[in-house]
Every structure is written in structure tokens, then in C-alpha cells.
């Protein structure tokens, strides 16, 4: 076997309320493609973040080319030869390919930038990688796949020795994937150390030499790819932990009325023929990996993004939801995964946020807001949801994540929503508050509300859902009753390679 170029030992990292990395070991050899796998939140990104100077580590050592190193910023890591090719490409679309690759270190001819030299250097890079891209082309005119190849060229031009690919194929077509793999094989030949993060099982088998699996911030193990099966890896990913109080059977009576029905929804690439039913008093879990199209489905359903086709029925009646306003009128409330961007108005008070969706009911003469009534209903909601806030005049930004979430729940309850879409309800919320949010959701369905819960956490899905829909790459790949759902079945459906 080749020389080890990078060793990470006993890496430990905590964020407030989360032990993100628990003494993780990881190594990369020259000329190998090393897969890093795990569920969302398993700690892969944090581990790579620690390596490249995005996060500082609490404990542990990083040895690179025989020396112990520490990088305070991605720039330092880059200079040392460790680069990430990101899932989202960081390119300036208006500039040319060569200008992008050499941004920040342009050659000069006197006071002017030497574009000719940059184009020539870029051409050499592409020749080395056997890629056919014109360095003078404007970046935004390239396909996503070509743009990614420019990222790789940029990495190589930095004299990288270790290249980290973070879900590189997420947006690529099959031909582009094949091209990418050829480049990766070529890089392997040239003795680069490559870390390959992906959820696609078939790719892992195809391109990688070893695979390291992480779970809940710990390293589960490292396998030689050619000697293991897909099932081995799935098994390691989900583990054998017994989660507390998993639901064993649905509490929803078989004859409960269907309150929401979606038929053949299409909305862009990420929502392809999605159909499902939601019953009264049910928690319908939407499982899948990040970017599987669950949020896109919810947003299309809620009218936040345009829908191409498909029908939606609320309580048996066909409805035409074209904007969030229409959805709210039909009694649907949406709690966004990105609370700070889409859920709350941070610099406003609890009371003002609480009535945001129903303000027209709190207006007295001359369009004046009835502040007394507004405070009263907010106070009642704070009490009912046990929101921890000194008063309803507190600014929402001063509340903890869990309490902010409760304010959003309160907003929808005040507007009398019957169907609530919880998108990653406990993201960024600490353990104690999670419990409260779960209890709250259970109470809501007991009171006759219906909930769609999108969650990337397996534990959450198995604990809360009565029924589970699994999505993968914009398509619904499976639906289970809670009684028959297992982690393996769900993970398998979530990572299923789509037939091409």
C-alpha cells in the first residue's frame, strides 16, 4: 500500500448542545480514493471542516506529510495543499474560466492583468486533466459539470495534494459523472490523496478504494470497498442503536378522513410525480437524504414555489394553491427548515411574530392594530406552548432556537391552521428542547391537527411518524406504515440508485 499522507487522530469537536465529533480517526493515503459516508448530521462535513480550517478542533492531532499541522482558515489549508471541491460551486459567473481559476493571484504585466498568460496557464491545466474547456469562455455559460471541472482545475493549480469532493455528482448528468470519474481515476494515478463524500452507493463501489463510515459524530469503521457489500455499508450507517421510544404502530384509526391529498405533483427537477395522502390526526414523516426534494415538495404544495402540474385536495375538495396566501386560507401552515430566513422576523417581538399570519383579525377601527388583543393571544400561546420568554415584548432574536420554533408554531395555531408542515422541526435545537417539540407535535395531532414532518434524522422519523414517505432525487421511492418500517428499509429507499 501507498504512503499515508494525512492522519487525523482523536479529533473532538463540540458545538453548543451537540457533540459533533467524538474522538474520530481518519487517514488518507497517496493515490487512493477514500469515501466518507454517513447519514446527514453524522459529522462528515464537520470533520472536513476541522481539516480545512473552517472549524477549530477541541482535541486531537492532524498530521500531514509527516508534520503535525493546524490551519486557522481554509486559505491556510489551501496554501498547504488541502482543497475542497464544494457541492455548491463558488464561481463568479460573469468572469471567464481562466479569470475564475486564477482569481486573487493574477499575473500582471506592469499595472495590467496579463489575461493572455492566465488563459495559457488554464489551457495547460485542462490539457493535464484531459478536459476540453475554452479558458476564455464565460463561466455561467458552462454546464454545471464543466464548472465543477474548473473547480478541480483550480484545486490542482493550487498545487493541492489532497482534494476533498463533497457530493460532487449531486447536480451532474450521467456522461458528466463518467467524465468526472475519469478525472478522479487520473488524479489517483498521479498520487493525489482523494476524499470522496457521497450518498450514492453505486458510486462508492465504482470509484473508491476504501470507505470510512461515520455515525452520530463517531467513526464506525473503515472497510476496503472491494471487499464489502452495499448492505454492509448501510448496516454500518444506521447501526444497531436502540432509539428511545420508537413508535411501533400507527395511532391513527384506519377510517380517519383524508385531510390532504397530493396527486402527481411536478415542480422542477426536485419534485417528480409525488403523490401522497395525509389523514386527520396523523404525523406523516418525509424521510430521505439532504436534497432529496422533500422541502421542494413542501414548498410547491404550500404555493411558495410554482407547481407545474398535479392536483391538491384539502378535505376532499380540490384546491388551487398558487401562493402561500391561498395555502394559509386552506388552513395549511409551513414551518421552514431555515427558521431565521423564512420563519421569524428576528428583530421583531414575540407578539408581532405571533400574529404575522393572522393580523387582519387583530385590527380595530381605522386599520389600527389592537395591541391589547394581540398581546393577549400571544400570551395565551406562550403559556400553552410553554415558550420560555420574559414577556411577549421580547425580541425573537433573543430567544433560543427551540423557543423560536414555538413562536412559529404559535403563529400557525393563532391563524387556525389544520395542517402543519414541519420542515426539520428540531434542526439547531438542543436535546432538551427537542423533547418538548416532540411532545408539542404529539399534542397537536391528538387535538385533531395533521402534520407533515420532513426530517433527515432517522431517529426522529421512527419516533414521531405514523406513516413514512421516502424520497430520493425528487421521486417518491417508498412508503411504509410505521409498523413495517425499519432503518435499513428507509436508508435503502433513500439511497436507491435511480434507474437510468
Amino acid at each position: 500500500m501507498n504512503d499515508v499522507i494525512l492522519t487525523m487522530k482523536g479529533i473532538d469537536k463540540s458545538f453548543p448542545g451537540v457533540h459533533a465529533l467524538d474522538h474520530v480517526d481518519f487517514e488518507v493515503r497517496k493515490g487512493e480514493v477514500h469515501a466518507l459516508m454517513g447519514e446527514n448530521g453524522a459529522g462528515k462535513s464537520t470533520l472536513m471542516g476541522v481539516l480545512t480550517g473552517i472549524f477549530s478542533k477541541d482535541a486531537g492531532t492532524i498530521t500531514y506529510e509527516g508534520k503535525e499541522v493546524y490551519y486557522a482558515s481554509p486559505r491556510e489549508a489551501q496554501t498547504a495543499g488541502i482543497v475542497i471541491v464544494h457541492q455548491e460551486l463558488n464561481m463568479m459567473g460573469h468572469l471567464t474560466v481562466a479569470q475564475n481559476i486564477f482569481i486573487g493571484r493574477e499575473w500582471k504585466k506592469g499595472p495590467l492583468i496579463d489575461d493572455a498568460r492566465m488563459n495559457e496557464e488554464a489551457r495547460k491545466l485542462f490539457a493535464l486533466l484531459k478536459i476540453d474547456i475554452n479558458p476564455r469562455e464565460t463561466m455561467s455559460r458552462l454546464t454545471v459539470g464543466k464548472q465543477q471541472m474548473c473547480e478541480i482545475a483550480k484545486a490542482i493549480s493550487h498545487e493541492a495534494k489532497i482534494i476533498i469532493f463533497d457530493e460532487p455528482t449531486a447536480a451532474l448528468t450521467d456522461t458528466e459523472i463518467e467524465q468526472l470519474f475519469n478525472i478522479i481515476r487520473d488524479l489517483r494515478q498521479k498520487q493525489y490523496g482523494i476524499v470522496y463524500i457521497s450518498h450514492r452507493m453505486d458510486e462508492i463501489k465504482q470509484i473508491t478504494d476504501r470507505v470510512t463510515v461515520m455515525r452520530d459524530g463517531q467513526k464506525v469503521g473503515t472497510l476496503i470497498t472491494s471487499e464489502c457489500t452495499k448492505d454492509d455499508i448501510v448496516h454500518m450507517m444506521v447501526g444497531r442503536v436502540i432509539y428511545e421510544e420508537p413508535k411501533t404502530h400507527s395511532r391513527v384509526p384506519a377510517d380517519a378522513p383524508v385531510v390532504l391529498k397530493a396527486e402527481h405533483l411536478y415542480a422542477g427537477r426536485m419534485v417528480q410525480d409525488v403523490s401522497f395522502e395525509l389523514r386527520k390526526g396523523e404525523i406523516l414523516g418525509f424521510s430521505g437524504l439532504m436534497g432529496a426534494g422533500r422541502t421542494d415538495t413542501a414548498r410547491a404544495l404550500f404555493g411558495a414555489d410554482p407547481r407545474e402540474s398535479g392536483d391538491v385536495y384539502v378535505e376532499g375538495k380540490k384546491v388551487n394553491i398558487r401562493s402561500p396566501q391561498d395555502a394559509v386560507r386552506e388552513g395549511i401552515g409551513y414551518l421552514s427548515e431555515d427558521r431565521k430566513r423564512f420563519g421569524v422576523v428576528l428583530e421583531k417581538t414575540v407578539a408581532q411574530n405571533s400574529t404575522l399570519a393572522s393580523l387582519r383579525h387583530y385590527v380595530k377601527y381605522l386599520g389600527m392594530i389592537d395591541r391589547a388583543a394581540e398581546r393577549k393571544v400571544s400570551q395565551e400561546m406562550v403559556k400553552a406552548l410553554k415558550t420560555k420568554t420574559p414577556s411577549v415584548d421580547q425580541l425573537v432574536m433573543d430567544l433560543s432556537g427551540g423557543n423560536q420554533q414555538k413562536v412559529v408554531v404559535g403563529k400557525w395555531l393563532i391563524s387556525k391552521s389544520k395542517i402543519l408542515i414541519f420542515d426539520e422541526p428540531t434542526r439547531g435545537i438542543d436535546v432538551g428542547a427537542k423533547q418538548e417539540i416532540y411532545e408539542l407535535m404529539n399534542r397537536l395531532v391528538k387535538e385533531g391537527k395533521s402534520i407533515i414532518m420532513i426530517s433527515s434524522e432517522m431517529q426522529e422519523i421512527l419516533r414521531m411518524s405514523d406513516r413514512i414517505v421516502v424520497m430520493c432525487e425528487g421521486k417518491k421511492t417508498a412508503e411504509f406504515d410505521i409498523a413495517e418500517a425499519t432503518q435499513e428499509k428507509i436508508m435503502s429507499a433513500a439511497t436507491r440508485e435511480i434507474a437510468v
Binding site: 404550500f302 411558495a304 401562493s323 402561500p324 396566501q325 395555502a327 394559509v328 386560507r329 409551513y334 421552514s336 430566513r341 423564512f342 420563519g343 421569524v344 422576523v345 428576528l346 428583530e347 421583531k348 408581532q352 404575522l356 399570519a357 393580523l359 387582519r360 385590527v363 381605522l366 386599520g367 389600527m368 392594530i369 395591541r371 403563529k411 391563524s415
Partner: protein
């Protein structure tokens, strides 16, 4: 210091507005001490007259600013609406109240026009209102065949509208316009802080996406911000006609900058999400005080520009530092 800061009165008024009030008092005392001719009643009257139209524009433009936008069309708009009003009276013989209605109506129309383009078609407010600024400048001249605008003079029929600004009893002039302004400031403060439209306009500047996902018709309320701006530009057009004897077509560019400057000194953030009508009121008084006062101590108009610019930068810097804490 903290106890002082948390005093209910100070909390209600806001630190920035208290600072401006302090600066206003100091400046006023300074000018009074430095120049004997400044401390005359007529100076104050002159100052208030030149202030009205800027003040009205500033109250209106505070709303687009709070949404994170801007309205550059109010300056040339004001001149356009007011010469069209004059044309209706002088060339078509219509009564003054019709002219007033049309003047304000045109303001509302162009406010609505801006609002629809910005809120519905998502064009940048800067570009949109810059173009409207050019359009109304040309339009005013075309509609009136480039005639200078003149509204009824003292003694003529319909001159009562000038009394709305300055009322003369036994040779003494009373600045009644100031009373109207204060009433409007109170009303618009209420609108901004205590009504649905005000709440939504602030929320648009603060987090438009969250508001949209709360099921609120964001477009409608976003348009309203520009309608307010246009409406007040229409009122400002009447005030302008009441202050000056003649109105030259094609002028007015730059008026909006004084109004926007006043709003910003008053603590309205150009990034949107916060602002105050009382702050705008104080900010415009500050600018007007400088405009009137500086010549009295021997500093001419160019100096006033430099000082106003410096004050705006200082005010915004202080605000940024305070926010960062």
C-alpha cells in the same frame, strides 16, 4: 448609563432621536449666539417655509426606505405635479381644489406605478424610480408646453391655500404649516407603528420571505409603501407651489436627496427593517437649520453641502456601531 438607557421615556424615543434633538438645540443656540440677524422671528418663518416640501417628501420616502428600497422620483415628480396643477388653473380655468386633487392624484399614480414595477415585476427600486424620475421630468414639460407654473398669488382667487402654510394676522405671520406637519407626523407615526400596513412594510424590509410564507400578500403592501411616497410627493408639490412664486419645468432633481438624507439622519436604515417618522421629522429640521443658519455665520451653500454630507455619514456610522453591539 445603562439605567439611563433603559429609562422608559428614552427607550420610547430612541437614543438616536435624542442625540439629534441635542444636536438641534446646540446648533440653534450656536447660530443665535454667533449671528444677531439669525435670532429674528422672520428667520424662523423663512426656515419653516423652505422646509415644508422637503419634510413632506421625507415623510413619504421613509416608507420605501423601510422596505429596503428608495424613491428617487419624488423630486422631479413634485415639480411635474405642481406645474400640471398650475396649468389646469391658468390654461383651463379649473378651480384650485381640482388642481390640488389632480396634483396629489398624480403623485399617487406614479407611486403606484413605481410600486407595481418594484413589487410585482421585482425590478430594483433604484433603477425603477430613477427611470420614473426622468419620465416625470419630461412629462411635466410636455403636458404644459414648458410653461412656468404659477399658483394663485396673495390677493388672487384661491390664494387661501397659501394660508395653509403661513397665516397672517395683523401683519404677524404664523407658521400654521408647521402645525399641519406635526399632525401628519403623528398620523404617519401611528400608521407606521400601529397599523397593519405599517407592520407589514417594516416586515418586508426585515424579512420579506418570512412574511410571504406567513401567507401575507406581500406585493400589495409593498406597493403601498410607494403609494405613500407618491402621495406625500403630491402634498409636497402643493407646499412647493405655496412657498415659491414660480415653478420652472424640468427642475426638481436633487430635492429627493435632501428628503432621503433627512430620513437617514433620523435613523431610517437604508438596509430596511427599521425607521421612524419622528426621526425623519427631526432629521429634516436639522438639514433645514443648517441650510438657513450657515449663511448667517458666513458659510455659503457649498459649505452646507459638505457639512450635511458629513453629518449623514456620522449618523449612519454611529447607528452601525450601535447595531453591532
Amino acid at each position: 448609563m445603562d439605567r439611563l438607557r433603559n429609562h422608559p421615556l428614552i427607550k420610547k424615543l430612541g437614543v438616536q432621536r435624542l442625540v439629534i434633538t441635542g444636536v438641534l438645540v446646540i446648533l440653534f443656540v450656536f447660530f443665535t449666539l454667533m449671528s444677531p440677524s439669525f435670532r429674528k422671528y422672520t428667520t424662523i418663518i423663512t426656515m419653516t417655509s423652505y422646509m415644508y416640501y422637503i419634510m413632506l417628501m421625507a415623510i413619504g420616502v421613509t416608507f420605501p426606505l423601510i422596505t429596503g428600497g428608495v424613491d428617487l422620483s419624488i423630486g422631479t415628480g413634485l415639480v411635474c405635479y405642481s406645474i400640471v396643477g398650475s396649468y389646469l388653473m391658468r390654461q383651463m380655468g379649473l378651480p384650485i381644489w381640482v388642481a390640488m386633487l389632480v396634483t396629489v392624484g398624480m403623485g399617487v399614480f406614479f407611486g403606484f406605478f413605481n410600486g407595481i414595477i418594484i413589487a410585482k415585476l421585482n425590478l430594483p427600486p433604484f433603477i425603477t424610480t430613477l427611470c420614473t424620475m426622468m419620465i416625470v421630468r419630461g412629462l411635466g414639460s410636455i403636458l404644459t408646453q414648458s410653461m412656468t407654473g404659477v399658483w394663485p398669488m396673495a390677493g388672487q382667487e384661491g390664494s387661501w391655500f397659501r394660508d395653509l402654510l403661513k397665516y397672517k394676522i395683523n401683519g404677524t405671520i404664523y407658521p400654521v404649516g408647521l402645525v399641519i406637519i406635526i399632525i401628519l407626523v403623528i398620523i404617519m407615526s401611528m400608521v407606521l407603528n400601529h397599523t397593519r400596513v405599517g407592520r407589514y412594510i417594516i416586515a418586508i424590509g426585515s424579512n420579506k420571505e418570512a412574511l410571504k410564507l406567513s401567507g401575507v400578500n406581500v406585493v400589495r403592501w409593498h406597493v403601498m409603501a410607494y403609494v405613500f411616497s407618491g402621495f406625500f410627493a403630491g402634498l409636497a408639490a402643493i407646499a412647493y407651489a405655496g412657498t415659491f412664486t414660480s415653478i420652472t419645468p424640468g427642475t426638481g432633481a436633487g430635492f429627493e436627496l435632501d428628503a432621503i438624507g433627512g430620513a437617514i439622519i433620523g435613523g431610517t436604515a437604508m438596509t430596511g427593517g427599521s425607521g421612524s417618522i419622528v426621526g425623519t421629522f427631526l432629521g429634516v429640521i436639522l438639514i433645514s437649520l443648517l441650510k438657513t443658519g450657515l449663511p448667517y455665520i458666513g458659510l455659503q451653500a457649498n459649505w452646507q453641502q459638505i457639512i450635511t454630507g458629513s453629518i449623514i455619514i456620522t449618523a449612519v456610522t454611529i447607528d452601525m456601531i450601535r447595531r453591532r453591539k
